[in-house]
Structures are given as C-alpha cells and as structure tokens.
C-alpha cells in the first residue's frame, strides 16, 4: 500500500475518532485521536496494516497528559504518531499490553513516571524506580518536587 492509501484508509475508517490530522513531513504524521478509540485504531494499524510499534512517549503538557504512540510503516518509510490527551487530574487509558507484548514494559514505565493508569494491563508493577520511591510521586511530571531532602541529585546548570 502507498502512503496515500494508508493515510486515507485511517482517515475514512475512523472519521469520528480523529480530532486532528497533522501531515508534518513526508516521513512524519501526527494524528490526535479520542482516548476511548485507541484500542480499535491500534488494532487496525498494528494488525491489519502491519505497522511496527516503536514506543510510546508520555509528555506532561501542563494542561493535560499526552501519550504519543509511535508506529512505523517500514515499507514506505513513514512514522505515524497517535496522540491522546488525558485529563491531568485522573489520567486513564486502555492498555495495549494484552494486544501485543511490545507495549507491556513501556506502559509500566509511563505508569510510574507520569502516573497514568492503564486499564486492563496484566501486570502493572514498577519497572525503573527503586522500591523506596514513595507512591504518588511522579518524577516526569512538570510539578515534580524533590521529596528526599537528603538526596544529591543533579538539578542542571
């Protein structure tokens, strides 16, 4: 399938679910979607179109928490990023980990670093942070404050 066919297919199939469609450059496309329709769109992109899941990026965009799911179409050299915006007060989204294993670890990572709850994740344990890290402190949030006054951490120059 060509680039146009793939993008047109996504656009027409999920007309109701897409908020914004940004065709940034020949290699990069950003699509903002409804958080509730994430699973069905990913199902289509990953299973039917055969895209490779690169990774997900969690961003604290001050007003809301954004997650970008990056997918690569290897044959046509295209990187599509699906963007969801979640409420900052209670960020929650469906898990992809039970659809394919590749999403398992990154959801655990975003969960502990940004405090996003992934509904239906089979094993939402900690991945990177140490065991003495307190609950409810999310280091990648913009309003993160140092909680351990004994810690010597690099605060930048």
């Amino acid at each position: 399938m060509t680039r146009e066919e793939i993008l047109k297919g996504i656009r027409e199939k999920f007309k109701e679910d897409i908020f914004d469609f940004l065709d940034k450059s020949p290699k990069r496309v950003y699509i903002e979607i409804k958080p509730a329709s994430l699973r069905k769109i990913v199902e289509y992109v990953f299973r039917n179109l055969g895209a490779r899941f690169n990774i997900a990026t969690g961003v604290d965009a001050r007003h809301n928490i954004e997650i970008l799911y990056h997918f690569t179409f290897e044959e046509i050299n295209l990187l599509v990023s699906l963007r969801v915006k979640l409420k900052r007060t209670k960020p929650e989204i469906d898990s992809l980990a039970n659809m394919f294993e590749g999403a398992n670890w990154i959801e655990r990572e975003i969960n502990e670093l940004l405090g996003v709850n992934f509904k239906g994740h089979p094993d939402l344990r900690r991945l990177l942070l140490s065991d003495d890290w307190p609950e409810g402190v999310y280091p990648l949030r913009a309003d993160y404050k140092e909680w351990d006054d004994k810690a010597i951490r690099d605060r930048g120059v």
Partner: protein, 396 residues
C-alpha cells in the same frame, strides 16, 4: 517435580546493565522467567530537560558505553527533524563512518563474550584482538576509543584529516583475513552447532508480537533495519546487503552479527574513500518550538529519540528508547523450556549490555546451595566439553 527459583542478579550478567532475572526451574528446565530492571536508572530523560540542546548531546552520549554513537545520532536527527534541516554531505559521510565503526567493535565484543560463555576462549581472544584494531581506528578518527563526541545538532564537531585515511584503510583491511578465519571457525564448528542450533528460538510471530529489533529480529526472518527502511546518513547511496536468517535460534543470531561486520567494513571503506569535500556543520543557533523524532539503527537495533521543544534553548521533553528495552522481554519467549546451562547463552544472545558475570548467583528455594557466576559459566562450558568428547569418541 518441585519448582525452584533461581535468582540471577541484580548485578547481572553478562553485560554492563545490572538486571535481575528470576528463573523458575523444574529440574533443569526453565519454566518461567521474570526480569526486573532499573538498578541503573539515572534519570537521563529528566536530566536532559535541564540542559541546553548542545549540552544534552554529551549527556546522552553517556547512556551506553558500547554504542555511544547511536544515542547522539538519534538525538541530533530528532533535533534536525524539529528544525527540518539536512546536514551537509560531508557530515553525513563522517557520521556514517563513526556509526559503522561502532557496529563493528560492538559485534566483535559480543562475539568474544558469546565464545567465552560457550567455552570457546579462542574465539574470545581472537575477536577482542581484532576489536582493538577498530578501536585504534576510532581513536585516529575521533580522538577517543569510545564516547567519540563527534555529533552535534546540525553537523559534526571534528573533521577527518585526509592524511589519516590511508592508514585507517590499511588498518581496516588488516583485520579482514583474521575475520574470515574466525567466521569459518565459528560457522563450521560441529560442536558449536550442537550448542547453539535450535536453542532459544524466537519465532517470527513472537518477534513481531514483542516488536523485537535489530539482529534479534533479523535472525528470525524479519527484514527490519532502519538503515534500509528509513535511510539516513549515506546508507541509501551505498550498495550493501541486509543480513537475514530464518531460524531465530542462537546460531542464527551469531551468523547475522558476523556477516554484518563484513557489510559494515564495506560501508566504512566506501565512505572513507569517497568522502566529499565541504562544510561539516550548519552552526545552528536556535531551535524553534515543535516536536521531532529521530531513529537510527544501533548495533543492537533501533534507537529511538523523541524531542519536544518550546522555542527556548532546552528541550521540554526528551524521550529515549534504547533497543534492549524492546529486546529484553523476548526472554519470556526464548528461555522457556530450555535448560539452565543454555539459559546463559540465550540471555546473552540478544546482546544486552555485558560486564558483571561474577555476581550471578544460583540457589535453591531454601537458600542452601549457592553457585555463582563462574559456576554457571562452568556449567555451560562443561556441556560443550561433553559434546566435544562425545563426538571425538564417535569419530574414532
């Protein structure tokens, strides 16, 4: 049979990252595996948000000591994606040279360690010996054996002197005969076949499901290589082959890496001989607001960086995804059902990052018996020895 738990780590294994594996075994067979990482979490993503775009390049170069170029490469591509610029031609060539030199030394390092774990110390000695030549080459080109500090957004920091090139080519050529010998020694050895063929198979379906990358996926018959799929540097201007094997076992992972070294030598030599003249840097002063993605093929697979800028001189978000992050979970698919003596080489086969073998501990659930890393390596080496003796007996 009773289930026993074998903890391996936290200062695991074989490679430079501390990881903690919990192997559940029945007798000799591994029935479950769980991996705990994060012992070495340094918060580099957060740190990078506090540094300027230029300073970040140095911070992220220190993410990995072996593939230290792949991270700055992906990062600078992400920043260049925000600005939408193309770096000068000469800078592209030099970037490709550095990236390929790194792939050669990284694959050789892995091959040596894999040989060591299988009880083939000759392979270990030979491949580390020729790796030194490549490190010398890197020192001539960049001034450093590792952490080259060659990259910056918009170009490179240091030019290659034309008078260095003949000497470098000579050094690269000098390793080819040894490498050929090593290739034959590894690929035709019947004992090595017995130890690695059909062991730790990652099927094509699993590789897709786990989103495996790099040599790990290419050994399972998936044509996945960022250098071909989304060409950067000068990979689209050079004739080279993507190495693919079909079985997905440890042997195929070895084969893919060995053959890739030859391709890398080819690419590196072409770039050195056809280096164009011109600028090496765009002198980028400001990064506009926006977001960019950069991905490159590191020795272990795709390295992925996402950078978001708000128009100031610092990134507001910098996401780093190293290839091992996607390759590590594949243990679940490969180690299951194998024996403990094979587990070490399977865990090593994806080439996670090696160093602290001594800290591997094996004990039964009551904690009475204690093996250490040497013991596990010994188990693995003994098995090879047994096969070797068995063959010798049959032949005589």
């Amino acid at each position: 049979m009773a289930k026993r738990i074998i903890p391996i780590g936290p200062y695991h294994p074989l490679q430079e990252e501390p990881e903690f594996f919990t192997l559940t075994v029945e007798g000799e067979k591994v029935v479950d595996i769980d991996v705990r990482i994060g012992y070495n979490h340094r918060g580099i993503e957060k740190l990078s948000e506090k540094k300027t775009f230029d300073q970040s390049t140095f911070v992220i170069e220190r993410i990995c000591g072996i593939c230290s170029t792949s991270h700055p490469f992906a990062y600078t591509r992400a920043v260049e994606d925000i600005i939408s610029v193309e770096v000068p031609e000469r800078a592209k060539y030099i970037r490709t040279i550095i990236a390929e030199g790194e792939r050669i030394h990284s694959h050789l390092l892995w091959l040596g360690l894999a040989g060591h774990f299988l009880g083939y110390n000759t392979v270990f000695m030979w491949s580390w010996k020729i790796r030194e030549e490549i490190l010398d080459v890197m020192e001539i080109l960049s001034g450093n054996r590792n952490n080259y500090a060659m990259f910056k957004p918009g170009g490179i920091r240091r030019d290659i002197k034309p008078e260095d090139i003949p000497g470098v080519i000579k050094k690269i050529n000098s390793i080819v005969p040894t490498l050929d010998m090593l290739k034959k020694a590894v690929m035709d050895d019947p004992v090595l076949h017995a130890r690695t063929k059909g062991i730790g198979i990652l099927t094509k379906e699993d590789a897709i499901d786990y989103c495996a990358l790099g040599p790990t996926s290419r050994a399972s018959g998936i044509a996945r290589d960022v250098r071909k799929d989304s060409p950067y540097g000068v990979y689209d201007k050079i004739e080279w082959d993507m190495i693919i094997a079909q079985n997905g076992d440890v042997f195929d992972k070895v084969v893919v890496r060995i053959l890739e070294i030859f391709e890398s030598i080819k690419i590196m030599k072409y770039c050195l001989l056809n280096l164009p003249k011109g600028e090496i840097d765009l002198n980028i002063k400001n990064v506009p607001s926006g977001e960019g993605i950069g991905h490159v093929e590191a020795p272990r697979g795709e390295t992925f960086h996402y950078v978001k800028s708000d128009g100031t001189n610092r990134p507001v978000r910098h996401k780093v995804r190293a290839p091992t992050f996607m390759n590590l979970p594949t243990f679940k698919a490969t180690v299951m059902g194998e024996t403990i003596s094979d587990a070490t080489i399977i865990l090593a086969a994806i080439d996670p990052c090696y160093c602290c073998t001594e800290r591997v501990a094996v004990r039964n659930t009551k904690g009475k018996k204690l093996y250490d890393g040497e013991e596990l390596v010994r188990l693995s080496q003994e098995k090879t020895e047994k096969i070797r003796r068995g063959r010798a007996k049959r032949c005589s």
